[in-house]
């Protein structure tokens, strides 16, 4: 296996999750389907941060939970280090130790009646560390997230620590079991502004020094630009634009990305005006055609009829919009993963 092939730790192919919901206000239990995540493919590579940006309801958290196998996909495949995972089966302990999830709210993700000692040792013991080794491993994990001295933190209760410290401990707890992939679902949005960068720098450091593959989920596109090697923008369950590096932020092509970036407060430009959206308050998601069409300022007839494919708009930069219909359509993302899929299918 070549170097590039081994570096893809976790690959998702055409991941889809639909939820069946009761339609309100109707008798006879009428239901409709919410397409929370639709056909999302991505690669998490060792030593790289992939950022997923989207507003609330865009399906980014469902995506993270599918990757962690807490939510079962409706369809699609997961490939962990080259081996195809049976997504409908029960998650194995080994998968859990390879892929760890860090949640948004650090206050809610720790057991409040136990000291950190308990909170950190539990995953270690579950994953087979001996009682003798576990405390040393927990201390080592705390040192990795720059909490010194570890003994002080092991003896504290969650309420005695600040949000930033707790989020570092959440990351340490995830690192305890030596995962290859870290999924961080909005890890900084609940933290104080002044400590956010510290946590972002920590994630970046884990990626650079320990070659972790990190998925960083956020609604803050500026932080995605700061930390990520590649950025994915989701809207209504679909990937609308993705790019390697920051070209997506510097030269956004999809109208939704443009709207998102124009909405970010930018004190360096006091004359900034809001771009018009065709509807002020209704956030409609089209059933047919492009899902962003009802809000799109550039909407065309074609957009309401046909769903656009992803077009290649730049180097490793794709945009799912009919405005770029004269560009070449993107077939598959990374060639190395195609090989991987073929390979895993044969084994």
């Amino acid at each position: 296996m070549s170097e590039t092939e081994t570096s893809v730790q976790l690959a998702a192919r055409h991941l889809t999750r639909h939820f069946t919901m009761r339609t309100p206000g109707r008798i006879f239990n009428a239901t409709h389907i919410v397409r929370a995540v639709d056909d999302v493919s991505l690669d998490l590579v060792a030593g790289e941060v992939v950022a997923v940006v989207g507003e609330s309801g865009s399906g980014k958290s469902v995506l993270a939970r599918m990757l962690a196998r807490i939510v079962t996909p409706t369809s699609g495949d997961l490939v962990l280090q080259g081996s195809l995972i049976a997504v409908k089966s029960k998650r194995s302990l080994d998968y859990a130790s390879q892929v760890q999830l860090v949640l948004q709210d650090p206050f809610a993700s720790m057991n409040p009646v136990h000291k950190m000692n308990h909170n950190l040792l539990r995953p270690l013991l579950i994953h087979g560390a001996s009682k003798h080794d576990a405390p040393a491993l927990a201390e080592a994990a705390l040192r990795r997230v720059s909490l010194e001295p570890p003994s002080r933190f092991l003896e504290s209760y969650p309420h005695e620590l600040s949000g930033g410290q707790l989020q570092r401990i959440s990351i340490a707890r995830a690192l305890c079991v030596q995962p290859k992939v870290l999924l961080a679902d909005e890890p900084i949005s609940m933290l104080d502004v002044s400590v956010r960068l510290g946590v972002l720098n920590l994630l970046r450091g884990l990626c650079d020094n320990d070659h972790l593959a990190i998925l960083y989920i956020t609604h803050d596109i500026a932080s995605a630009r700061y930390i990520a090697d590649s950025i994915i923008v989701m809207y209504a369950g679909q990937v609308v634009e993705q790019s390697r590096g920051t070209s997506l932020v510097d030269e956004p092509t999809h109208p939704y990305t443009q709207l998102l970036i124009a909405s970010v407060p930018d004190p360096s430009d006091p004359t900034k005006v809001t771009p018009p959206t065709s509807e002020r308050t209704q956030v409609e998601i089209a059933e047919k055609g492009c899902r962003f069409a009802p809000r799109c300022p550039h909407v065309m007839d074609r957009c309401r009829q046909e769903e656009p494919p992803a077009f290649i708009v730049g180097e490793k930069h794709t945009s799912k919009c009919w405005l770029y219909a004269d560009h070449q359509a993107a077939v598959e993302m990374a060639p190395s993963v195609r090989r991987k899929e073929g390979e895993s299918a044969t084994t």
Binding site: E55, S56, S162, G164, Q165, D192, V193, S194, V195, R196, L197, G198, L200, N201, H219, D220, I221, A222, S223, R225, Y226, T246, V249, D250, L259, L260, I261, A262, S263, V264, P265, D266, P267, S268, P270, K272, T274, T277, R280, T281, V283
Partner: protein, 399 residues
Amino acid sequence: MTTESTEVGGGVKSPPTTTAPSILTANPVVTLASESQGLMGERILDVRDFSVDYGWGEKAVRAVDGVDVHIDRSKVLGIAGESGSGKSTLVYAITRLLRAPGVIAGGEARFNLGPSEEGERVIDLVQASEKELRSVRWSDISIVLQSALSALNPVVRVGSQFEQVLKTHRREMSKRERRARSAELMEMVGLSEDRLDRYPHELSGGQRQRIMIALALALDPQLVIMDEPTTALDVVTQREIISELFELRSRFGFAMIFITHDLSLLTELADEIVVMYAGVLVERATSRELYEAPRHPYTLGLLNSFPPMHGDRTELSGIPGSPPDLANLPNGCSFHPRCPFAMARCSNETPSLVEIEASGRSVACWLHVGDAGVVVPVELSRATLSNASTSEPVSKVAS
């Protein structure tokens, strides 16, 4: 009576240990502004030496300590700070919405009710009785809270919530007029009238926050307080709501106090910004000045905590350490354990807010005050920050 003293220490729910003048004897009511107190003129709210405690006696924690803020008619005052800095406590106390164990430990909050035939009518919100407050709240000062879902009554249709406000404060309105006014308010914030028949849970977060704004504007207040109105919303909705707010403000001319932790948003929309840290004001400046030349190291750190949207990607440091515990504040300047510029003096003496420019720009930091008490303007920039962090600061005290 008009010259009735409004001595500090007169909280209504003052701790029993302090000698507070009772509301019964002080009887401030609505007074006419007199020479001794100073006329308010364009100033709509003048808060002086305002302190708020949580708890009583020995265990009291000072959440707001001697804060002075003021706002003029039709202006936007931004209050920036992290959680626990006291920014929300300050406005809840000013509007007297603060619940026990929060108590006003001192200070005055004079609100200008506008001119009348006899002169300017002024009310001290700290001393006012519940009855007086009821006449001021909503019609003169209204508030928009962060979480619209918990601020709206979940079991009552939106329309009835408008009804209740109008019925209570505008007795003369008929049912038909109330409905018409509600529809007009909804239209003002870009919602269609049929939303009045919905329950709050049927609406999106952005729509609920618009309803909160419409409700706040229902009685044409002079001052609207916004407590993190857009924090729970995504950026696109935030941008829509902010631009709508400013359109409404230019139409109706109300003043706004805007509270948020997002300094980059504030620098865009406020006229003047005050920055709070651990219950005290550390800097006051116009938003341009604050963005272009922050004077307090904390402000500089906050501004540097937002990754930029353009330019090269460089590593930013944010602010080291964690926000302080109010019950256990460090000696001297509360910020010194996290400050890259900390000097020996910072750990012993607390700097007070001093004016460093004639424009009213103030900062509470020893960097700007010489030994003789002379104000020395010091330029803080990203460059000076990196220099300071490389050279070991003098006597940096670990928390």
